[in-house]
Subunit: 334 residues, 2 copies
Amino acid sequence: MPELRKDPIVGRWVIISTERSKRPRDYNISTARVSEVGFCPFCPGNEASTPPEVLAYRDADSSPNSPGWSLRVIPNKFPALKVEGDIERVGEGVYDRMSGVGAHEVIIESPDHNKTMADLSLEEMGNVMLAFRERIVDLKRDSRLRYILIFKNHGAAAGASLEHTHSQLIALPIIPKNVAEELAGTKNYHDLKERCIFCDMIRQEARDGDRVVLENENFLVICPYAPRFPFETWVLPKKHYSNFEMLPEEELQSLASILSRTLKKLAVGLNGPPYNFLLHTGPTNTDKDTSHYHWHFEIMPTLTKVAGFEWGTGFYINHTPPEDAAAYLRSLEE
Amino acid sequence: MPELRKDPIVGRWVIISTERSKRPRDYNISTARVSEVGFCPFCPGNEASTPPEVLAYRDADSSPNSPGWSLRVIPNKFPALKVEGDIERVGEGVYDRMSGVGAHEVIIESPDHNKTMADLSLEEMGNVMLAFRERIVDLKRDSRLRYILIFKNHGAAAGASLEHTHSQLIALPIIPKNVAEELAGTKNYHDLKERCIFCDMIRQEARDGDRVVLENENFLVICPYAPRFPFETWVLPKKHYSNFEMLPEEELQSLASILSRTLKKLAVGLNGPPYNFLLHTGPTNTDKDTSHYHWHFEIMPTLTKVAGFEWGTGFYINHTPPEDAAAYLRSLEE
């Protein structure tokens, strides 16, 4: 009998097929490659073909917007939102709109064109985490911005258009719907129990162990109870911080280490799949108390071509129970 | 300046790029084809390779599960849910699950393997609408079921695995999250204004005309104000019915006609794109009043490879303003 399982945070039900559990080889996985165009604007030497950098970790004797960097953050050349301008809110009959003020940046994670995020050295991965934090801390000083999204599309099937490893940041003057739902879910639970639902979940998962992929002193990696996608994997901080940028310096390396191990396991076990990687963190510049939120990463390999039906209904059918996915990922040698 | 627009029903914000509006030829549209496997279980003569039909429109002198049908409804051979069994609800610590009781059926829309839904004759399309209604009316007698989803994945990129034109029906013991959100949105508006938000929207759209694709006596076809996808198109009944099955007999042909014209426009204008087609209708067997809901169809062409980022955040970036999409679809000769 298939199972219906409910995500405890947002209340989303998913169907988990328990009878014909699909293993990795049952999915038609296309190893993530983006069609190469020859010229890569993210490679060292091509700095002039991107907008000027807003942050870079580079050799002391190198100049901005020239080679010698190990990580580089630039505004997106084709931004979805514009930094300049005032926020204007307009009603049109039953509709609402506002001006598209915000930021859209690209974090180039390594100068090496041939590395994926899973291939980054621990130092490089640590720098990526540091850059995420630095950009968030800088952008949240802009009081017009309410939410900073950080995400990565790896591989064409996951929406990437350039192969050179990079993440994206979109800073928004509104709180996106799914974030608002997670905020409402964590608040409801906190109002009821005076505890954080993520903290309760982490304790339960660490004790049960069935869905645990990896664990270290500060982080727990699980395949969640009600996953939308096969091999969906979450990286959860054990200590409660609502926002990513609250993570103390000494935990950044521990995060870089476990994230790197997680991405390597997914790359080895699923044949270098396309995936989306999302930072779920609390909002900024809100006058509401959002300390009940619990930041985390969600990684969603693109193994199936579900598409619009799931988009349209919010209803997901998953043929790999998370217990099987976690057992498989655990079993891979590191 | 890009615009942020809010869907008035569920409150989802989307970014609409107004400056570099993408036209159909700017999308890399792969005409919807599913890789052929030679044998088609949905073709006449192959009835024995599917589960026995639960409904068929067929010649008076033909026998069940043999050729001579014009439309055929069968249980899905690999159902996501099982009809047999009791609903058991179980808690597991912070989690909830229930047994996967439900129905999963396939509506084979035509015996002709080479027709798409857009190619169906008016009579065939009328039969499809009738079959949707008949199956809903039959299944809602099962008091365990709370929601009946009807949808179509057209083309491999939209999730189809068989080419022969068909829709699917999934009957669920729960109300899916997006439906619950639409119910909450329409209820809030009704509580506030004692009017239906869809009815208000339909009046506003018919008056403005900018986003109207087609209109007949009973239906209005629009590209919605805050569309998630380029060329997203909704078919809205002008008269307020919460549930699809309430549509009177005399409006079924009018619906078949406008739906057919809409699909033809999308097929001609977008080069036969993959798409998802969803029936949004009210729930069944609920003791709550859901008369404030307003059934409709949503059609979402698969022109972009957005994927997990949008899944994960509920946040969409659309490079074709709906006013441009509607103007283009209107301009196509019929």
